[in-house]
Subunit: 129 residues, 4 copies
């Protein structure tokens, strides 16, 4: 598992309920995923510029406790399964080791026209947990 | 099932992949849910002002086809189950009757301190599909 | 001036301060601008697909009163000046005829590489207020 | 001037134009402002919890060059004027020392009901540039 990504919560992240808006956790998970892939030799921006993208296929997310303004949370990324065309990733979001949000995200590799392509060779080097 | 909510896609909704960013579909589903509840006598903003909120507990979402800039999509809302403290909702997002995204969302009713409360009486009047 | 665009405020629009997050008013103004242009024969999405885009050059925005959860606001759009390469637009955001936010936005037309291009002929037909 | 805040650009930040969406630069400026204030003894989240908030009154922003996916930008914050009730801040956003976006932001201090209050004593200790 890569070092978790630290995310500080600003007003932009919160809603009138006083907590982080539920869709925003998906942003943090993508940030963490991007950094995880970079650490493993897969540069999402370079892929993008060459015409390849990762598209999210499924998300199964569970909200346990909310994050709030001014807090710093940690987002973990772990690859749990890989096929020729999809990668299954588990993310956890924690605050001081307390689990706030947990999700399984399945991504596929597509080209500029949205057609599925094989996942990059570099990714196959990543050891599945 | 309530009339679907129509959503027009603007630049704010899209990302550099040329399609709607994956977290944004959760926003459209909440918009649709809010209007559905209003049609059934539950005013989310009034609830909020009285100190009650709906918190999302789980989302299980499947992305099948992307929506793009300038398109108008339709978001359906259907209550599929209800307990004393949670409500399960199914949303579909369609473009010209083609299914783009599908999700099951479970929400709970909480007070200002995040403590679970009973779901409002008005909601119990809604017939579960 | 075109008919104002009506925008309903949902949780996604608000922050922990209990009001609409300040950056979000720029989204509503772009939505209103897009619909205004469409009414005047300029389809932003079609332009985009042909490789032309409107880029915002400057925004001068004044926040007078906040919008809140559940409210419906109206966003007006008025073209106040036009040169060969830029268009100056005035937006007002109102709630029940009370002015909440006001902005002047200057946009330019660019191609896919970010190079300035002439503004579309259709736009020159729009009478400047 | 405080150390600039570094911001990495992810898909969430971009739009179908392939660049950062224009409203998002206001988010980065608020992040930088929040960290700047914290370095100078003003904790925005603590203020919030005590019922005080900074509200943006005006923004005058100039977009010169776009930021793109995968880039890291730097956001500077400088207090340029202060009255009993408002603070004027200048932000610059740079990539490799090239100016991308520049803005003047005026903020005021308000209480939970939106009523203006005096700016915190700690802020008066910050030397105006």
């Amino acid at each position: 598992m890569a070092n978790p990504l630290r995310v500080k919560i600003y007003y932009e992240d919160t809603d009138a309920g006083g907590v982080v808006y539920y869709a925003n956790y998906l942003k943090y998970m993508e940030r963490a995923r991007t950094e995880y892939l970079l650490e493993h030799g897969v540069n999402v921006a370079e892929f993008h510029n060459k015409g390849s993208m990762f598209a999210v296929v499924d998300v199964d997310i569970h909200y346990k406790r909310p994050a709030k303004l001014g807090e710093t949370i940690e987002v973990t990324t772990e690859i749990v399964a890989m096929t020729a065309v999809t990668i299954s990733i588990k993310h956890q979001i924690l605050r001081d080791s307390v689990l706030l949000v947990e999700a399984n995200v399945r991504i596929a590799c597509i080209d500029r026209n949205g057609k599925p392509t094989r996942i990059p060779e570099e990714m196959k080097m990543i050891r599945v947990s």
